[in-house]
Symmetry: C2
Subunit: 299 residues, 2 copies
């Protein structure tokens, strides 16, 4: 399989065959808190041509409501219904699997997960709050955990500590049937403009290491979010195009679901990584950035 540079020769055929564009956010729409050049105008063009827009992000720090606010603060109007974040996916996974509301959910991760759990009718514990807690390792002290926790959700956690690692580990090892859910397994992400930082894959691996269990992954490239997308947007996946900056999450997610795929080089993947012989994930098309769509369609 080979990939093709998006050009004025092929952009119309892609554009015409696609009813819904699915966008990753970090590295595609924005970097940190800065909008990538030309994104706003490109999204406007797509909407004006009747294309459906969907935003699919592995970042679990925010809830859908908080993402809609972030879009608005950057001058882009997006509804909550158009946003599929891994924080939302974690809550939806519990919902579709009839997770009992009397059970609790321990969260290693951000506020967004707790908010989505709450909106879905679940009681979340942990999260940023437990970042302030310390452990006492006196020989006869007992670290107590809530026996009614039935699921541990792990996402990117900038306040990770030994307290949370022990809490999540105890729930998974000792509470019978306790689920271990990962929002995603991204190794690193652009937490700041200048650098990549450990992503959810770091915290998820830590809990794998202490529990010797593998998680249920709800974010990209797991097809779980696509099931929801398909219920909401009555578009066949062959008429969707997944636009992302990561081969192993975005592009693989699109391919696993039968979407067309477009890699943008504005995020974590550069052209040499794409063309490296060790890379086996080839998008249908690649281009520098989202606004190339605007330029190529306009030309």
């Amino acid at each position: 399989m080979t990939t093709t540079l998006l050009s004025s020769h092929n952009v119309t055929s892609l554009f015409d065959s696609v009813e819904a564009f699915l966008f990753d956010c970090d590295g595609v729409i924005w970097k940190g808190d800065k909008l990538i050049d030309g994104v706003s105008q490109t999204l406007q063009l797509l909407r004006s041509k009747g294309k459906k827009l969907v935003f699919v992000t592995n970042n679990s720090q925010k809830s859908r409501r908080q993402y809609a606010q972030k879009f608005l603060s950057l001058g882009i109007s997006v509804t909550e219904d158009e946003i599929f974040s891994s924080s939302f996916a974690a809550a939806m996974y519990l919902k579709v699997n009839d997770f009992p509301t009397e059970k609790k959910v321990y969260v290693i991760g951000g506020e967004g997960i707790l908010e989505e759990l709450d909106l879905a009718g679940y009681t979340g514990l942990g999260g940023p709050e437990d970042g302030k807690k310390h452990v006492e390792l006196k020989s006869d002290s007992l670290f107590e955990h809530d026996k009614s926790v039935g699921a541990v959700v792990v996402g990117l956690d900038r306040y990770i500590n030994y307290y949370k690692l022990q809490y999540g580990t105890l729930c998974i090892r000792e509470n019978p049937g306790c689920l271990f859910i990962a929002t995603n397994r991204d190794a690193v992400g652009h937490m700041t403009d200048l650098q990549e930082w450990p992503g959810a894959g770091c915290m998820v691996a830590a809990i794998c290491g202490s529990t010797e269990r593998e998680p249920i992954v709800v974010g990209k490239p797991s097809p779980f979010m696509m099931e929801f997308l398909l219920q909401k947007f009555e578009v066949s996946t062959s008429k969707m195009c997944m636009v992302g900056d990561r081969l192993d999450t975005d592009i693989l997610f699109g391919q696993n679901s039968g979407c067309k795929t477009l890699l943008v080089l504005s995020g974590v993947t550069n052209q040499s990584t794409l063309e490296d012989p060790s890379n086996h994930i080839q998008p249908d098309y690649y281009t520098n950035q989202v606004s190339d769509l605007l330029d190529l369609l306009g030309s």
Copy 2:
């Protein structure tokens, strides 16, 4: 392969064929800060019969000097030369591989690793000190790391935080040729009498998750420590008996090295785990605790 309960019928044959007894510490000699019953008398008997004693621990929290002090505080006289800790093994790995002394070593782990690095002539960074540090995630801020770090050593770290995870990750991802060394990969350990807590396997996995690299493991079951042991103690491995409480570290380490193996049920492994069909690691012998040797030999 099957295992045999240590009994008055077979203890003499084991005892007579062994010149050196290798003991794991946590769950074998002590639990937390408490000596396990009868250990002191058993070690005395073995010494009086001319057996060599060696203590091989994956716990990297302490240096060999600190372990000798701990033994002394529990009323047992052990020399530093008889102790092989994974903190020491990490420093020795660098030494035998001619790691240049002008390069630095970043430590995610305890004071013991820093002390062993220092004794081996290396400059360690990080460790408990970095447990107090916080990260600033302003969009234009740059997290600086020392470009002269040539190795990251990861062990059990009760003060793990996002700062250390980012520091270790940057060194491994960005410093050319930077080594990633794990003291060990134990999932959990008895940090307190009443409970198990996440072990070095948790922090090591976290760094695997963010770097997408696999570590060089120097502790059990890696045979690395045995090479040192063999230089020090001129005893063939067939005349050694590894006594431990963990199948996947102690017993596997003994078996990988050609030692006889004796599992004690005074630590993390119970009889049902040993006999579970999913367990494929069978020690030569098993018994409740170290002092059974004393009782059986005396009877």
